[in-house]
């Protein structure tokens, strides 16, 4: 489904601050798998997500999505197949428009944005059905400007918007990190529900070790541009937060910080 082959990525090539982040990186994620990714700052997690989404391009190597080579495809074209929710709760919605208008925009993804009316009133019931399970009461606030919603509400809306059309891959970029603990739990629960119901192939980066062990079918720990730990099946089920913390500390000591 998603395949990264022999990826090399160096920032500021030829400059004094040249930084090699990835060298010969390989990763294969089968269809329908829910992968959680952890790793310290600078371990290459964000670089990988940006490479997958086309925000940045590799120096060498290939990226395949559903069998087709997307290595040089631009970000907006790739977005047709990939949904992404960011840590920044402002990035997934448009604050100057109502919930209804935001949903209508997302509903039209993959089709032409022409001179037809932007809001299709016939879809309102369907939108309400999508929002009701969130338990945030958003279904009764369709005409409220998104800018006046809380971070958690906006993030929940962003989740709904990016999964309402068919996507092949869902990228979650520390999407609960900017939320308070209670809202963070709400969003992660919602995420799990959507991912499981729709069976979307998902990569979720998180700094919350408990989320990393409680959700998903496979756990990856990144370190210095490589995969330090790759657990699935039995091993994945038996791992707990303490095991991960031990491993983190071990790595830190080895790398001297």
């Amino acid at each position: 489904m998603l395949e990264l082959k022999d990826i090399c990525k160096t920032y500021n090539v030829g400059l004094i601050n040249e930084t090699k982040v990835l060298e010969g990186f390989n990763l294969s994620v089968p269809k329908g798998q829910f992968v959680t990714v952890i790793g310290s700052n600078g371990s290459g997690k964000t670089t990988i997500l940006n490479l997958i989404c086309g925000t940045i391009f590799p120096n060498s190597g290939k990226i395949f999505l559903d069998g087709s080579d997307v290595t040089s495809m631009t970000e907006f074209r790739r977005a047709r197949h990939i949904g992404r929710v960011f840590q920044d709760t402002q990035k997934g919605t448009s604050p100057n428009m109502t919930i209804l208008e935001n949903l209508s925009l997302a509903d039209n993804k993959g089709r032409f944005y022409g001179l037809g009316m932007g809001v299709n009133r016939k879809r309102i019931e369907a939108y309400k059905e999508m929002l009701a399970p969130l338990g945030l009461g958003l279904e009764n606030k369709l005409d409220v400007l998104v800018g006046s919603l809380s971070g958690g509400q906006r993030q929940a809306l962003a989740m709904v918007m990016c999964t309402m059309t068919d996507i092949e891959l869902l990228i979650l970029d520390e999407h609960t990190a900017a939320l308070d603990p209670k809202t963070s739990e709400l969003i992660i629960g919602l995420t799990n529900k959507i991912v499981r119901e729709k069976g979307i192939t998902t990569m979720m980066v998180t700094h919350n070790l408990r989320h990393a062990v409680s959700y998903g079918d496979r756990l990856l720990m990144f370190h210095r541009g490589g995969i330090e730990m790759d657990l699935s099946g039995e091993a994945r089920r038996n791992v707990d937060v303490d095991d991960l913390l031990d491993r983190f500390n071990q790595i830190s000591i080895e790398s001297g910080n």
């Binding site: 990035k91 997934g92 919605t93 448009s94 925009l105 944005y113 037809g116 009316m117 990016c162």
Partner: protein, 292 residues
């Protein structure tokens, strides 16, 4: 006498309201401080003057001016999006280039056509009482333009334009090239500015290269005045606020000229007035960010 001046100030204010609608798209919706406006306003005038002198239908000059302005807007967008020039600089480059383009189109720095037909002298004007004809025709034009504008903003394309200014990432996430959306926005914005230039040229029965100087400030001041003065008016749409902003602005200018302001000081007063509005505006929004 006073009533006459008030009427002509309202007429010109309404023509500038069309310019302000253009600025509303680039500045407010797209968050793009587009200086090419100083070139596209006289572009509309130059095109109109040449067409009218060559005997074209004055009503056809309006869409012609819109298209020319839109083309210039696309070029500004191309410079910004494809060549990665900053938005401010792209506009300045375009404004500078258009100065020569406008002189080339017109052939010289001013052109008069006092005897040719204009939209204010045609069949429509003859149906109306002579003294109010201009005002009625201008109001008619502004109402049609505003209605089309409001309608467009509700379409899929218009909604995407609004999203692009507020959150470019969202547009990319929706699998749309945000660069193209910016170009589209600049095309509409400069089209409207040029259309306003065409109306002003027909109103004055002549083209003058200097009319462009300060268009950006006039339009921007109108947008900001409208949005500030009517910020509490919940039932009023943004576009209506902008239109009224244009009229209020021009009434202020006319009033200061009437009170004996020397014309050579006009631009200084415009700049000072603009500064005052900006300061008041930032104070207001700092105080009540929740309003925004």
């Amino acid at each position: 006498m006073l009533l006459n001046m008030l009427q002509s100030a309202t007429e010109q204010g309404l023509i500038y309201a069309v310019l302000a609608l253009g600025l509303y798209i680039s500045y407010s919706v797209l968050d793009f401080p587009d200086l090419s406006v100083d070139g596209t306003f006289p572009l509309g005038s130059a095109v109109t003057a040449v067409l009218i002198i060559s005997g074209a239908n004055p009503w056809l000059c309006l869409p012609a001016a819109f298209l020319c302005g839109a083309a210039a807007g696309v070029v500004t967008g191309l410079i910004h999006v494809k060549l990665n020039v900053t938005n401010l600089l792209s506009g300045i480059l375009m404004m500078t280039a258009l100065y020569s383009v406008n002189l080339t189109i017109a052939g010289r720095s001013n052109l008069q056509f006092y005897t040719q037909p204009t939209i204010f002298k045609g069949a429509l004007a003859r149906l109306l009482p002579e003294r109010q004809a201009k005002l009625v025709i201008i109001i008619l034009c502004v109402v049609v333009i505003k209605a089309l504008f409001d309608l467009y903003m509700k379409t899929k394309s218009g909604m995407l334009l609004r999203a692009c200014g507020a959150n470019e990432q969202l547009v990319k996430s929706l699998s749309v090239d945000s660069g193209k959306i910016k170009m589209l926005g600049l095309a509409i914005a400069n089209g409207l500015v040029s259309l306003s230039g065409s109306m002003m040229c027909q109103y004055n029965m002549g083209f003058d290269i200097t009319t462009g100087t300060g268009s950006m400030v006039i339009g921007l001041a109108s947008v900001i005045i409208g949005m500030t003065v009517f910020r509490k008016a919940k039932l009023m749409g943004d576009t209506l606020k902008v239109v009224f902003g244009g009229v209020i602005y021009y009434l202020c200018i006319s009033a200061s000229l009437m009170l004996g302001l020397k014309p050579q000081l006009l631009k200084l007063v415009i700049a000072a007035l603009f500064l005052v509005i900006l300061t008041i505006n930032s104070k207001l929004f700092k105080g009540g960010a929740a309003d925004a």
